[in-house]
Symmetry: C2
Subunit: 281 residues, 2 copies
Amino acid sequence: MRELELLERIRKAAESGAAANISIIHSIGDDCAVIRPRPKEDLVFTTDFVLQGRHFLLEKQSADDIGHIALARSLSDLAAMGSEPLFCLISIAVPAELADKWLRGFYEGLLSLAVKHKITIAGGDLSRFDNVVADVMCCGRVPRGKAMLRSAAKPGDSIYVTGRLGAPKRPEPRVAEGVALRQAGVKACIDISDGLVIDLHRLCRASWVRADLEEVPIATGATLDDALHRGEDYELLFTTRETDLDGIRIGTIVKGKPGEVRYRRKPLPVKGFDHFDASSR
Amino acid sequence: MRELELLERIRKAAESGAAANISIIHSIGDDCAVIRPRPKEDLVFTTDFVLQGRHFLLEKQSADDIGHIALARSLSDLAAMGSEPLFCLISIAVPAELADKWLRGFYEGLLSLAVKHKITIAGGDLSRFDNVVADVMCCGRVPRGKAMLRSAAKPGDSIYVTGRLGAPKRPEPRVAEGVALRQAGVKACIDISDGLVIDLHRLCRASWVRADLEEVPIATGATLDDALHRGEDYELLFTTRETDLDGIRIGTIVKGKPGEVRYRRKPLPVKGFDHFDASSR
């Protein structure tokens, strides 16, 4: 498929499917996308790589699945802040032989998730490269000062997750759930992208608190170790004193060594923590 | 260098060097960067890949140069809209053996350009990969409705560039020049990233006009062909009826076949146009 035809498809899909988002003034085709922010709102931004051989295997996953994952990873970060998706920029580089059919499949997977969560594709970059490399930047909005943060957990909060953990699956970012939690007054949240223990550790380190896990909801077919350490769950983990929210209670935030995570009174090793790979997410 | 130490360095440089940008509420370390837009301003967004072997050669260019180029490409897009830089997100993936010294050099090149143009590093993604791959997203601000566009050239406008063309050099994005042109009332602008003719063609196609080139200012050591078709100049090309602006006059916008570029009455081929590679920039 020629580049112009592809851009035209993206433009149409973005315009038709992903809601009449009046904030976007100029889009694909100029040097930059131009956005008109609304008053009394903060904007939140996140970017995530999806790299061949690292985040997916070209020969084992469909183009559609990879497009889905590329957007899902960034949307999940928006969900963790309790923000409504606004627009995204899609940078994608592929080998010449994948420029037609594969790229169409990639965009089909990505666009169907974009339509579902009402996020507009406002631009990006398209290039040729030996490997498939995608970088998706997502922008969302929250009422001023209301973004949920990693750093807002308080001793006495209960810890909840939005679903059972540990089974590999096609990630469904918890966008609506994130918005609902924020509206219900939840202040502290993170998405489980790298694994329950490491992401809970990050939240506790940012909040200068310890977490005592009591029960961990294990997905069908998964082990306790999967539920504790396997990533790519994309469930939200949040802490609150509210007691009437949807979610599975898994433990309590307490005063203690910042970042420590205990399970049934035993400190857990923070597995999978890779200094070099850990991103600013 | 460990990831935390690197993030700390970036955080400090971003906080100290790149101006007290009160729009940025939460930065590196949370799921998303949080930005508080100012009233009566539009925000502009652009993203550009810098890929090993495609946009640079690892063995021929220093890490510092590559960091500079990675940010310069996106900053140049902000300049073309006449916007003031606000913040950027840096996604970078490198092989493990480059994670220490090389990555420090990359950030040094990038940070010194960031400080110069007062753009804050608000976050990003850091990953391991077989090749060096960077994607830089830049956000800038313009007074509401005042962004310069590719689509605003009018018959009767003179065409100008901000400098001589055709010599490869370390790109210096024309950020201050872009702001000054926008403040002087210029409406139509593009940056010359892929070559004078192809970028002028893009502007003319977007504006439904033809361009008649009369004189082309050739950089020392370059040929006319270099000046017409060589990319990576990062000068701005703008069109206006104003006559007292800084810039080198190179021709006139006329009614005619949309996108056509003539040089001394002869239509020029649009060299270097690669459908697949042409991005949405």
